[in-house]
Amino acid sequence: MREVGLILSVLDHNAIELSPRISEAEVADYIALLKPRVMSLVVFTAMVGFFLAPGHVHPVLAITSILCIAVGGGASGALNMWYEGDIDALMSRTANRPIPRGRVTRPEALAFGMTLAFFSVMTLGILVNWLAGALLAFTIFFYVVVYTMWLKRWTAQNIVIGGAAGALPPVVAWAAATGSLSVEPILLFLIIFFWTPPHFWALALFRNDDYTRAGVPMLPVVAGPDATRLQILLYTVVLVAIAVAPWPLGYFDAVYGIASLILGAGMLGLAINVYRRRHGSAALRATRKLFAFSILYLFGLFAILLLEVVARAIAPLIW
C-alpha cells in the first residue's frame, strides 16, 4: 500500500512537471531582455566606429551592420539575464527584470538569446564581411561566457577584464566598414575599456548592499570602499590620459583633444571628490555624481567624434 502511495505521488509530481506552461510574456518583456539602455550605448559607440572608418559604405550596408551589432548586443543581454536569473532576484536594481518577475522563463530567455546571437552573427558575416561577423561572435562569447559565467562570480577584477566585451562594438563596426582593423578602433576600444572600471565601481559603491546580498565579488564587497575609491582614481587618471592621447598622436584633431581635456578634467575632479569624501551622504552624493558624469563623459567624447565626421561630410556641400 505504501509503494502504491509512493508511485501515485511520483506520477502526480510528473503530471505537474509535464503540464504545459502558458507564457504570460508581453513583447515588452522580450524587449527588456535586450537591455535597451545598454543597447543604445552599443549602437552609439558602434556608429562612431563605423562612420570614423575611411571610405564610402552604401547606406543599406551601414544600416545592416549597425542593426546586426545592436541585435548581437541585445542577444548578449538576454543570455546574461538567462544565466543571472538567480542573483537578479536578490538585487533591487535587477529584481524587476522579466525572469525574476516570472514573466519569462530561463529556457525561454536562453532560446531567445541564442536565436538572436545566431542570426546577428550570420547576417553580419554573410551580408557584410566575416571579420566583422567573427568579432561580433567573439564579443557575445566574451560577454556571456568569459564575463557572465566565469569572471563575474569569481573575481573582483570581473568588470576590468569583462569590460573588453563592452569596448568591442566600435571595433566590430570599423571591421564591418573596412573589412580590416587599424589603430583608431583600438583607441576607441581602449577608451571604453578604461572607462568601464570607474563607471561600474562608482555604481558598486552605492549599490554595495545589493552586490553583498547577491554574493557578487565586486571590488567594494571584497576590498572595501576605500580601496575601491583609490582604484577609481587611478583608473580615471589612466582613462583621461588615454582619451587625450589620440590628439597629440595625430589620430583625432584638436577639437576632440580640447573637448577630451575639458571632459577629462570634470571626470578627474569628480573621481578626486569620491576619493576624498568617504562618509555619510556627501560620499554617496560624490559616487552618484561620478557615475552620472561618467555616462556623459563617454557620450561626449564619442559624440564629438561623430559630429566631426558629419561636419567633414557636409562641409563640401555648404562651402
Binding site: 502558458i22 507564457s23 504570460e24 508581453e26 522580450y30 545592416t64 542593426l67 564581411n129
Partner: protein
C-alpha cells in the same frame, strides 16, 4: 440547457490570447525585416553579393 461540448486541454484566457497574438506579430515583423534586409543588400551588391571577403 447548454449543448456546447466542453473544450479539451488548456483554454487560454483573453489576456493570454492577446499576448500570444502580439508575440506572433513581433516574430512576423522580425522575419519580415530579415527578408527585406537580405533583398536590399542583394540589390545593392548585385553579383558581388557572392563575394564575401574575410
Amino acid at each position: 440547457m447548454d449543448n456546447q461540448p466542453k473544450p479539451d486541454g488548456i483554454v487560454l484566457t483573453e489576456a493570454q490570447k492577446k499576448r500570444r497574438r502580439e508575440r506572433s506579430i513581433a516574430i512576423a515583423l522580425a522575419l519580415g525585416v530579415l527578408v527585406v534586409l537580405f533583398f536590399a543588400v542583394t540589390m545593392v551588391k548585385g553579383p558581388a553579393v557572392l563575394t564575401r571577403p574575410m
